[in-house]
Symmetry: C2
Subunit: 341 residues, 2 copies
Amino acid sequence: MAEEHKLPTIKEIAQRLNISVSTVSRALHDHPSIGLRTKMRVQQLADELGYEPNKIAIFFKQRKTYAIGVVLPSLIEEFFSKAISGIEDVARKNKYHVFIGQSHDDVEMEKEIITAMKDQHVDGLIVSLSKQTKNYDHFMALEKYNIPVVFFDRVPSLSNVHKVAFDMVNGTKQMLEFLIKKGHRRIGILNGPEEMISSKERTETYKQVMIKNRIKIDMSLVESTDLSLESTATAVEKMLSLKPRPTAVVAINDYVALDGIRHAKKLNLELNKDITFVSYANIPITSFLQDPPFASVEQYPYKQGSMAAEILIELMNNSSTSESFHNILINGDLVIHATGE
Amino acid sequence: MAEEHKLPTIKEIAQRLNISVSTVSRALHDHPSIGLRTKMRVQQLADELGYEPNKIAIFFKQRKTYAIGVVLPSLIEEFFSKAISGIEDVARKNKYHVFIGQSHDDVEMEKEIITAMKDQHVDGLIVSLSKQTKNYDHFMALEKYNIPVVFFDRVPSLSNVHKVAFDMVNGTKQMLEFLIKKGHRRIGILNGPEEMISSKERTETYKQVMIKNRIKIDMSLVESTDLSLESTATAVEKMLSLKPRPTAVVAINDYVALDGIRHAKKLNLELNKDITFVSYANIPITSFLQDPPFASVEQYPYKQGSMAAEILIELMNNSSTSESFHNILINGDLVIHATGE
DNA sequence: GAAAATACAGCAACCGTTTGCGCATTATTT
DNA sequence: AAATAATGCGCAAACGGTTGCTGTATTTTC
């Protein structure tokens, strides 16, 4: 049973009613040049037959797919799954659908996904770079296909692209000023890989704020991790064995901060007294944690996603290549987690 | 610049070479009935022009999109984002792409997504039900369009569907036997909403195991939560205020267990002594937790996702409606988290 | 009552590719 | 040398729908 799977087409309606397909098409679109009588007959038969336009055919004709692709490192990070929600919501409102691809922080995978999405003729792309990505040719190639790209969060260090990102400079300033106000003078940074511009910005801002507050800059207080477990462990260890030890540590994200906290406990350091950890917010389980980071900068992933999507939609509509590039900075907010000090 | 966006087509190649499009098409496919000379000329020009077949046109013609849709409650739950990875990996291997839709546990949203995916002509669908879903008509309607559906994790209570799910009966047995062996006699259940078959199975298994171990069944030890924060809080409170209090509690997932643990601490109960919490694994941050659930049953989301995808691919290939339905049960494994007792 | 305007519907091309069938050429067989 | 078989390629339809143009009744206008 159910083996005939012949969906009704406009052609069929035309035959049954003994009129032309163009008339049917126009009737269904309520075109003014079709008589009321005909329109009604068509509408009725269409309903009876359960006719539904074949969108693939339409997309093909219109050279549009109403699909946007999203490429990001990993859905497991809450930051990204929240961002996806923002993208999805905006997309749905505008009748777009969302393809998702995870690069798992692998450039080759990223390229593959981009190619696949190009082949699928997505109308636009939203991308958060893999942490390995240094070269942007595979994105630039998309221009040829007229596929606009909006980057978010992990954006390339180029000026001629559209991007939405957390305002790292501002967020880092807030965080450092907060710590300094609390009396900290020796502040460590558990930074991300050099390839990420956010890492560079963090370091720069660090220097800036230190200078402004007349604190001597000590670059041995800046450690990097490529975010792998081992690399993070090494960085944490180095950081905590510095002499004198920093009294506060800014970690690139909550996971790294938690690693630091765990290690500090092992060393029998008293948290928020001997040493204070702060970070940039990625995870929301802090309420279950005995010792959360003292504070985090909320980065509003949902907002980043939805803004990126809005920009993309604008770009897809006005294919009139507006010469300017969007460069949105999202302001973070400092959130205090720890219950007391 | 770049305003001509005219991608080369087979037609263009044909014109330039003064041959027919059919010849070009066949040449590009290495069809035996095309002469070597012609093939080479075509190939070369195609390379020069950077020709790429228009997949949309091909999909349209072949009435296939090479897209599979995935509908699930929320990407934020790690269980699901891991499952997605499993689905994606299998899909990619088979040249399929993945559309994702989040129902956010809302039936209406679920229906909308299904409709959208049907309109997009996905070739198949993988679904984990919203916790509200009681009626499966919107899935059954897909038969008409010849779109196969494979359910996973949150599956419907129907026998004539394909599904992959965690073996709740077995997993729960393992867990309960484990607790009983440890001496627990008064075991509470923080169960999920009644609509989820897993909840029913949990209750049933509970009774069964109790009977087998000659422990009197006390249904006041079974509390339900709809998984909202408030509902969970209420259930936890009730559970911990029972007299006598249970010495062990099985929670539907880690989040609920953590809520229980937090509440127990507030009541100054000593964990794993006065009361022990166990659950089904959804989250991996246990290593950062001071007091993780004592044990969890790992549900292998990646495996569930990849198996569901494999079944779907099989179904999409053999549209020969095999009369039997897949009904895979994934065996869980008990994982002990707590460091000591 | 004839000319002009309007209303209604059909023709055919088009989007890019695939494929069954037929038709020339050339090559092979006897 | 004639009949047969390969070989190489083109024609045209098909997938489902949209749209500019054309054509014919029917009305309206003066």
